[in-house]
């Protein structure tokens, strides 16, 4: 991460870009602060220790939030009526309360005055152990990293496993670590992003991935702890805090010591048609948890390039990185936690495609010098020609080392063909190792000439990004509308039109009333996680 500036960008333009991102983001943060969602409230209950599900697999947190919402609403938060009910002796503990509420045999009230105050202070006391466990996990990670050590090289090598069966994933993940992976990502089952509940327990059936559950998290983290010890290198674990249950999955990640989470500010809106308000509210809370837990977020800018053209839409990646940075920092994340994403997706048929890739990668490097950038391999231009794909992945790896990327998602030549064979993964790692070994130091020699192709291309992308941000900030829709939401609804990003009043999960959004209380937010915002 210690590259000297190679692009000679105008610092004033960079300052303008950041200030426009702040301008575009601030009204959205205001909305996030004044709303809550069913998933945020469920996450708070999880932090208060409520877990498990009924015999049909419906989690108790869902039962309890639904019961409270049905009876007294969520405008004041779920915890005040819940802990008031516990104080009144409706049940001895949260689990029993949730079980009784599922049967409809609990009555919830909105306590007033001293009663409300007492319920809130009980809620705060009850959430504290959850936050304390997150703090403890962070300390454990720091200790293990000190003991086992970090990878010797940058970029860190990021590999994906996804069998659908957690008990198959575990040996595969351990094998991948032994072969050289520093980071293991367990891809989720297709469609989990649209489930409005977190499945429970160890799971053995998934479609193109494995369900994210608390038990699966725990099993995989324990297995990677074993292999970290064996290898003398701390192996990081990644999952996905995205979709309708983003806050709950973030909480579970903190409780089970995951190390990185995919968490993009607009991905769910654009690519999964999740309601924009729901996404921004869920995202802010989940990022507060990630900040506290010492988790590195990975953003999803690569996705823009799979739908739009990687040359024409290059600046939308930069805009999204700037927005992700703004929202992340507002939520308390530090620079070292911002795994801002970008990808090698320019068509190899275009002349100078590799030079444009270098320009874009250097631009990200220079705009975010302290962020652990995540560099993602070609997918869009991978065909069934695995030999050509192997060459393309080699160039991807080369661009990664030349521009000092930090997290390298290993490209598979069988991308878009089959789930990678064992041998595909081995060949892919050989490719990475060869490039690292042969050219790892090349960044030292690589200085694009002043006003040459690369410098000019990077400046052009940055200036287009500033133009787009200006357009967003000045996008006045109906009076009182929020410019960024207006832009999203106009189809500015990834060509998708997503209005603020539509999309999945909208019915789970609640406007907070005066007196809204969220003990987890109180503790997270107090910020004693260091």
């Amino acid at each position: 991460m210690s590259t000297k500036a190679k692009l000679e960008l105008d610092p004033a333009v960079i300052r303008t870009a950041r200030s426009l991102a702040r301008k575009a983001g601030a009204p959205v943060v205001k909305i996030a602060k004044t709303h809550t969602t069913v998933s945020v409230e469920r996450a708070v209950l999880r932090l208060a220790g409520l877990s498990g599900a009924d015999h049909e697999g419906a989690p108790w947190v869902n039962h309890l939030v639904d019961a409270v919402r049905g009876e007294v609403g969520l405008e004041l938060g779920v915890t005040t009526p819940v802990f008031d009910a516990l104080r009144r002796g409706e049940a001895p503990d949260l689990l029993t309360l949730a079980q009784k509420s599922a049967a409809g045999s609990v009555s919830f009230h909105l306590p007033q005055g001293r009663e409300a105050h007492a319920a809130q202070s009980l809620a705060l006391r009850s959430v504290k152990p959850g936050i304390a466990r997150i703090d403890k996990n962070r300390a454990t990670r720091d200790r293990l990293m000190k003991r086992h050590g970090d990878p010797k090289q940058r970029p860190w090598i990021y590999l994906i496993v996804a069998t659908g069966d957690i008990y198959e994933d575990i040996p595969q993940a351990q094998t991948a670590a032994r072969e050289g992976a520093d980071i293991i990502a367990v891809i989720r089952s297709t469609g989990q992003s649209l489930l409005d509940f977190v499945p429970e327990g160890a799971t053995r059936e998934g479609y193109a991935g494995t369900y994210a559950t608390q038990e699966n998290f725990r099993l995989m983290r324990a297995a990677l702890d074993d292999v970290s010890k064996e290898l003398g290198r701390y192996i990081r674990l990644v999952n996905y805090a995205s979709g309708l249950c983003m806050p709950e999955i973030a909480a579970l990640a903190g409780l089970e010591r995951l190390d990185m989470m995919l968490n993009d500010s607009m991905y769910g809106i654009l690519f999964r048609d999740i309601n924009p308000i729901r996404t921004f509210v869920d995202q802010r809370f989940s990022r507060q948890i990630h900040a506290r837990a010492g988790i590195i977020i990975n953003t999803g800018e690569d996705n823009y390039l799979t739908t739009a053209d990687a040359v024409d839409a290059a600046h939308t990646v930069t805009v999204s990185q700037l927005m992700n940075e703004y929202f992340a920092k507002e939520a308390g994340l530090q620079d070292w936690q911002l795994g801002l994403g970008h990808a090698f997706e320019i068509s190899p048929e275009i002349p100078d495609s590799f030079r444009m890739e270098l320009a874009q990668a250097l631009l990200a490097r220079q705009l975010f010098p302290k962020a652990p950038l995540k560099w993602m391999p070609p997918t869009k231009h991978m065909t069934g020609d695995v030999f050509r794909g192997y060459l393309l992945d080699g160039f991807f790896n080369l661009a990664g080392v030349m521009t000092s990327q930090d997290i390298l998602l290993v490209g598979m030549m069988t991308e878009a063909v089959v789930t990678p064979f064992l041998s595909d993964r081995d060949l892919a790692l050989q490719n990475v190792r060869y490039v690292l070994n042969a050219a790892g130091g090349l960044t030292e020699d690589f200085h694009p000439p002043r006003d040459g192709f690369i410098q000019n291309r990077a400046r052009q992308v940055l200036s287009e990004a500033v133009d787009l941000l200006e357009k967003i900030v000045n996008d006045k829709g109906e009076p009182g509308s929020v410019p960024l939401l207006q832009a999203i609804s106009d189809g500015t990003f990834g060509l998708m039109k997503r209005p603020a009043h539509a999309g999945k999960g909208l019915d789970g959004v609640v406007k907070c009333a005066p007196g809204y209380d969220n003990p987890a937010s109180t503790l997270l915002e107090a910020g004693t996680g260091k």
Binding site: E179, F271, L422, L495, M496
Partner: protein, 266 residues
């Protein structure tokens, strides 16, 4: 040797793979065996190559992958012959088009966007199928969904949509095509739901104006379109590109001005 005429070139009926000389039969394969790398493993790889019809087989590369697996690359002359006369090509009734060609065809024929309304009907809450076809990003390597096509306007109604609501939405949006997905089904609910849906559309629209009705799901029997009253059934593993190509095909069949069809014609 018998020969066949395919346009300008005369092709032989019997062919072999081509390495660098006509008739050499040379192919290259790579595979992994779940055993440690040693002499026996190399022998095992050659045995497999022989059983695959490679004679002589040349083991050009063997590499241990961890302690339990070995990766091999084998070159060899394959003893099998290919008889072109026995090759059967199963044609789709429509040609596969690229996104660009789909967009161009719609632009040319309709001079407006093609409107697609999609939903899961009945109790089915599994939007995986419909989302795989509609969502811009698509799922699991099936390619970009219909939202990606600039000339297709997609209205995704989501899950558990009641049939009357779907009909109303299709009318309101002036749908050219209605896509319905039925993933999870018990006791033939998917058949019942689909027939209810197609009947409701026939009732709500004048004859000949019913939008194209397309259903998808793993349990539908291919070829049962007429019984269900729909225009096309898609099974497991269908890609958005196939659906888009089909829509263009159906549109062309129906003539230049309108792409609506009557069930009787199909």
């Amino acid at each position: 040797m018998n020969t066949r005429d395919t346009g300008s070139k005369i092709l032989p009926d019997i062919i072999r793979p081509y390495g660098d000389t006509t008739g050499d039969g040379m192919v290259q394969v790579s595979f992994t065996l779940p055993i440690p790398h040693d002499k026996r493993a190399e022998g095992a790889a050659l045995q497999l190559a022989a059983k695959m019809g490679l004679a002589p087989a040349l083991l050009v590369h063997a590499k241990a992958m961890g302690s339990d697996f070995t990766f091999f690359i084998v070159y060899g002359s394959v003893s099998h012959l290919v008889d072109l006369r026995e090759v059967v090509v199963i044609e789709r009734e429509f040609a596969m088009l690229s996104a660009k060609d789909v967009n161009a065809a719609i632009k040319k024929r309709l001079r407006r966007k093609l409107v697609v309304v999609g939903a899961c009907i009945g109790s089915d809450a599994h939007t995986v199928g419909i989302d795989a076809i509609l969502n811009i990003k698509g799922f699991a390597g099936g390619g970009k969904g219909l939202e990606y096509y600039s000339e297709i306007r997609v209205v995704n109604c989501g899950a558990q949509v009641p049939v009357p609501e779907l009909v109303a939405r299709a009318r309101a949006e002036k749908a050219d095509a209605v896509l319905v997905s039925q993933v999870v089904t018990q006791k033939d609910r998917h058949i019942h739901n689909t027939m209810t849906m197609s009947a409701a559309f026939r009732e709500a629209y004048p004859a000949g104006k019913v939008p194209l009705l397309v259903v998808g799901g793993p349990r539908f029997e291919q070829g049962s379109e007429d019984a269900l009253g729909v225009d096309r059934i898609f099974g497991k593993g269908t890609t958005p590109g196939e659906v888009a190509s089909y829509l263009v095909h159906a549109m062309t069949q129906a003539g230049a001005q309108t792409m609506t069809t009557t069930k009787e014609q199909s």
